[in-house]
Symmetry: C2
Subunit: 113 residues, 2 copies
DNA sequence: CGATGACACCTTGACATCCTACATATGCAT
DNA sequence: ATGCATATGTAGGATGTCAAGGTGTCATCG
């Protein structure tokens, strides 16, 4: 705790979108999704397991991803997720929404005093 | 509700920061803060009153804003909020954090498939 | 005079999301 | 045998937002 800046690991509401994006790049299992998000963001984003797996389950329940067991790189069984057609649509919508909202917010923050 | 995509009016976790920013531009009362955010964002952001007032109260409780009664433009009494020194510090920190996180997210979304 | 709508404050209850912490199990290296 | 990275999952609690409702004032319109 030596003067570390407080970090919230995520922006609320963006996790589903980020997972969809990673899965859109190719079928991936949960553990790897979290690692990849961390790498892709250069350690800015960190997904806790207690956030990750519930998110994957709700995405599957909504039909945005499909899951199946397969062997991971290391030979162990892992649950691979792939994007459904509905999921791809969702990813597009959420990305557009993100662009709109984040641009609006950044614009406000840039307002000169 | 004609097939409208569900849209959350805000990105969770950004409301406090946005309020601090508006208040940083000059003392303002709650109702006007919500209007201003909507205007500044060209109707992209909409703050519900059930989000606004609890937010103002927690900002005050944390000592990030100071509140006092005064007459509004229309002559009616309103509760004007102004930024404290601690609040200004918070605004800076949260803005930097926003920049980091939003840049990371946008970067991931831009990854080519 | 009564109704309406904009202004301005506020609370309650439900809900979704996230985090901390815990729990389980495998494979590999030491 | 012990530990570590991999890999999945749940339980409990905190937080933030929303939908919906409520109070009261003031100006305007019919």
């Amino acid at each position: 705790m030596a003067g570390e800046a407080q970090k919230s690991d995520l922006l609320q509401g963006t996790l589903d979108m980020l997972i969809l994006k990673v899965v859109a790049l190719g079928p991936t299992h949960g553990y790897a999704i979290a690692q990849r998000l961390q790498q892709m963001s250069k350690d800015v984003l960190q997904v806790q397991q207690g956030s990750l797996y519930p998110a994957l389950h709700r995405l599957e329940k909504r039909g945005w991803v499909r899951a199946e067991w397969a062997a991971s790189d290391t030979g162990r069984d892992a649950r691979f997720y792939s994007l459904t057609r509905v999921g791809r649509k969702q990813l597009e919508e959420q990305s557009e929404n993100w662009d709109r909202l984040s641009a609006a917010i950044s614009g406000i923050l840039r307002t000169a005093e």
